[in-house]
């Protein structure tokens, strides 16, 4: 125990040595309880030891100095000719028998579901303007697009992603959160 020479008060052992640590702990705890500090400062991800030393060599081995092997076509020319001739005969026979047994496939034969799934799974990377150019507006009714009621959440998400400053729309906070 530490004694004060001028009076009879004393403090627990190591009190002043530990004071700073305890104070910092308390500040951190209080900050954590306040709203602003509720989000942790770090996210806990780690990497294997020495990873960043190895990655450079890995990438360099896949890029710099990697030449594509050229396979000469000339020496196998006769082989390719014979393969092409056999393939041509097969295609000819197949197309003759195909035409005699069935009608040619038309656009109407495609199931709507197949077209929809193709459109959904293929990334066309088209802008709205490009789509507008290929879709004829004359054939469309306004109700085609307004058939489904959009959920509020979807509309707010869209505005959030696309509007320069959502606050300028003067929406009430509770409406878009």
């Amino acid at each position: 125990m530490k004694k004060d020479k001028k009076n009879s008060f004393n403090t627990p052992e190591g009190y002043f040595e530990n004071f700073n640590d305890r104070l910092m702990d308390r500040i951190q705890n209080e900050e954590a309880q306040e709203g602003g500090a509720i989000i942790p400062k770090t996210d806990g991800f780690a990497v294997p030891d020495g990873y960043f030393d190895v990655i450079t060599n890995d990438v360099l081995s896949k890029t710099v100095g990697k030449e594509t092997k050229v396979i000469p076509l000339k020496s196998n020319r006769n082989f390719y000719y014979s393969v092409a001739a056999v393939a041509a005969i097969f295609i000819l026979i197949f197309s003759l028998t195909w035409n005699s047994t069935s009608e040619p496939i038309t656009f109407d034969d495609l199931a709507n579901a197949e077209i929809e799934s193709y459109l959904e799974n293929t990334d066309f990377e088209m802008t709205s303007y490009e789509i507008a150019e290929v879709v004829s507006l004359e054939e469309m009714e306004l109700t085609d697009m307004l058939g489904d009621d959009f959920e509020d959440d979807i509309i707010m998400e869209y505005l959030d992603e696309n509007v320069e400053d959502i606050k300028e729309l003067n929406l009430d906070d509770t409406d878009y959160e």
């Binding site: 989000i39 780690a46 990497v47 990873y51 890029t63 509007v163 959502i166």
Partner: protein, 156 residues
Amino acid sequence: MNTYKERLYWHIRRIVLNHDDTDDVLQNTFIKVYRNIEKFKGDSKLYSWMYRIATNESLTFLKKKSKKMGVSDQELKDRMVENLQADVYFDGDEIQLKLQKALATLPDKQKLVFTMKYFQEMKYKDISEALDTSVGALKTSYHLAVKKIEAYLKEN
């Protein structure tokens, strides 16, 4: 390459979450940078351009992964967070795991802005170049992201 590898690694890691996938995407990013460096126009900073490639590579990677697994994008994100609990390269405690769960509920843009600003401490101007979005829109996204994350952490 040495200058950027760590920054890009952490950027990608916060999108794809596990180390092995990050390693794949980081290598693809550098290969793409190497092959396209002649096309770099110089009208943005080199690292903004690299960030843009890394972001696109990461998001494409996740899209391919969800398609391959036959699950929705959201389902994949939920599974990725669940897998963190068994990940040897994730030292996060309970609150850090909850943070990842909260981040998984955000739209891609909000999540990207939040991690780039909060964890990578990037300036809005640099994020704007990397994500090709105006500073105003980024500030709104960040504000919404913080509110949603705080609300999630308080509720859970």
